[in-house]
């Protein structure tokens, strides 16, 4: 049930649809995570898990945290977000706190986000709070189910979708949209975008520069069997593509949208007869002093790097430099199956959906 008082959030969770090429449409969101946040809270409210004055907890400081913070404020819930000191900047924290969220930033000596420490703290809060509610964006089916609305918007705007490109972090947006689109378009080809040293598609964990996609833990909402190709994009090409989106299309988006756009533009060029859609999760304001700041950028070793027009195809999954873009043919397999063939040294086919079409 939605009261008119909070209904303007619908505009924030509705993407602008921008034509980037004759066969490429971008769904550019102001704040995409409102879609799953709202769905999860609505469902919890209607089944009684979430009561008046409940205390909501989540381990995020990203855009899902912002989305829950906006909804919690509008609906009078208390909210605590547990994050790591390496993942949150002072201004974003101040904005979350101004909305009314309590932000706990834990130490992160290894620089990998300290997810175990965050989960431990979250459990402590839940144990103390009889009316505590954990939104569980990583595992709640509400996360992927919410994206039927994106599938719906894409169909109304462009009809048949042949290829879908999107980043994977929790798995909600890409796997949700893909699963609903594939129900009606069984031939849909799904391109997942991740970054080097994220464990989601079998890389060893490590320090990552590009935040907002990738993960050090594996959320249940990542459904590998939906994915045809996986692309790992480093931070530099992602930043550079984000700049290009602003320059060439007037789209001021975050760096993960840059990573997705890089892959999508390649897919659209490689498959000129296919209708391609790409998901862009949020705007660039949060990154004004980093990704969109020349001073910050010029301090990066080797910045800028050479522009890339195509990925390097891997037959063995391995991390690469932040200047690199690699690709691997996943072929709708489970993570276990892929890791097994990798361990056995079997070489997968080097020709993918793109070359076959």
């Amino acid at each position: 049930m939605v009261s008119p008082a909070v209904d303007h959030f619908k505009d924030l969770e509705t993407p602008r649809l921008a034509l980037l090429a004759p066969n490429l449409v971008a769904a550019a969101f102001p704040l995409m995570k409102l879609m799953p946040a709202r769905y999860i809270l609505d469902r919890a409210a209607s089944n009684g898990e979430l009561k008046t004055g409940s205390h909501i907890v989540e381990t995020t400081s990203g855009t899902f945290g912002m989305a829950v913070a906006l909804l919690a404020a509008a609906r009078d819930y208390r909210l605590t977000l547990v994050t790591a000191s390496t993942l949150i900047d002072a201004k974003y924290r101040a904005r979350l706190e101004r909305i009314g969220a309590t932000v706990i930033a834990l130490d992160d000596p290894r620089g990998d986000g300290n997810q175990p420490g965050r989960l431990e703290r979250l459990q402590e809060i839940l144990a103390k709070e009889p009316d505590g509610f954990w939104t569980r964006q990583y595992d709640s089916p509400g996360n992927w189910l919410a994206y039927a609305r994106l599938a719906e918007l894409l169909i109304r705007a462009i009809g048949k979708v042949d290829c879908l490109v999107g980043c994977v972090g929790t798995g909600g947006s890409l796997c949700g949209t893909a699963s609903f689109l594939r129900t009606v378009f069984p031939h849909l080809t799904v391109f997942a975008v991740d970054t080097h040293r994220s464990i989601l598609f079998g890389q060893p964990v490590g320090r990552r520069m590009l935040r907002g996609l990738g993960n050090s833990v594996l959320p249940k909402n990542v459904r590998h069997e939906l994915v045809d190709e996986i692309h790992w994009v480093g931070a530099y090409p992602a930043y550079m593509t984000a700049h290009r989106l602003l320059r060439e299309h007037g789209l001021f988006m975050g760096p993960t949208s840059g990573a997705a756009a890089l892959v999508a533009q390649w897919v659209a060029t490689t498959l000129p007869d296919a209708q391609v859609a790409v998901i862009m999760p949020d705007e660039g304001h949060r990154h004004a002093e980093t990704v969109y700041n020349d001073e910050w950028l010029s301090a990066l070793p080797g910045w800028p790097c050479k522009e890339l027009s195509e990925p390097r195809t891997l037959t063995t999954i391995a991390p690469a430099a932040e200047t690199q873009w690699t690709r691997f043919l996943w072929l709708r397999r489970s993570l276990g199956d892929v890791l097994k063939t990798q361990a056995a040294g079997e070489v997968p086919p080097a020709v993918g959906a793109a070359e076959n079409l």
Partner: protein, 312 residues
Amino acid sequence: MAEAGDLMSRGALPSPVGTAIAIAHHGELIQGVFKDDDGRLHRGLVTLPIAGLRSEARFDRSDGDAVVVTPDHKIKAAAAARLTLDFLNVTGGGALTLQSSIPVGHGYGSSTADVVAAIRAVAAALNVQLRPSSIARLAVSAERASDAIAFDDHAVLFAQREGRVIENFAGSLPPLLLLGFKANGGVPVDTLQLPPARYDSAEIQEFGVLRALVARAVRLQDPHLLGRAASASAVISQRHLPKQGFDEIADIAERAGACGVQVAHSGSLLGLIFDLFTPNLKRRAALVAQQIRRAGFKDVEVHLVNAEGWPW
């Protein structure tokens, strides 16, 4: 409704007799639960109208209070006539006569066609115009759940138990050829005995996607998108009112290059949707009809939908 009376008194002397028709349908393109603009869920459907089968009603006004219906078992149509008189603030009753070519119990909407024809005949006898939305609302009052046949070939997402439009698709369905037939040995289904289907969260979310397909199909007159919506809704319907041999039909449809498979969600009808502009459609449809008969289905028929005098 005082307005209606005023209008009448100003108009010509109303004829005491009104006649009207209503067409049948071939079940639903999609059926499920759908969100309104406020996020509330409503049961809803998109009807697939077929103009070839129809119900005809005649209403003779009389001064007596009673509405007398022939044949006398069509009590829902009689109730609809009574409700229409009340809605228009008219005293008296009349004789309602119905004649229908629509088979009963398979999902052709025979009873709604009677009800809608009756409502229209009463309005005609009173020389009053009724909007499709009012006719649809009266039909739901008369028979508890109704379909969207009051809108004729105009495509709407209709809340069949509330009598209101959830989404107006602002146009008619694309022209198409429908190869219709009956499953389950052609045994009729008593729709009133069916409990309303319980859908899970994933199905409820998927219905939004199917509704988007119908909207796009109507806007661009694309039978292929319409077929995909129908097929997906038919697959969901299998969990609630299974049709024997459905998988075999889905195979035949795929091999024949059909746009999709459509089912009556509370009846025994199945249909294969074809793009009317497919080359050699007549010969292909005849071949597919043969395969369907061989697979044991009954009463294979060809219906043209929005075909505008297409030669057949």
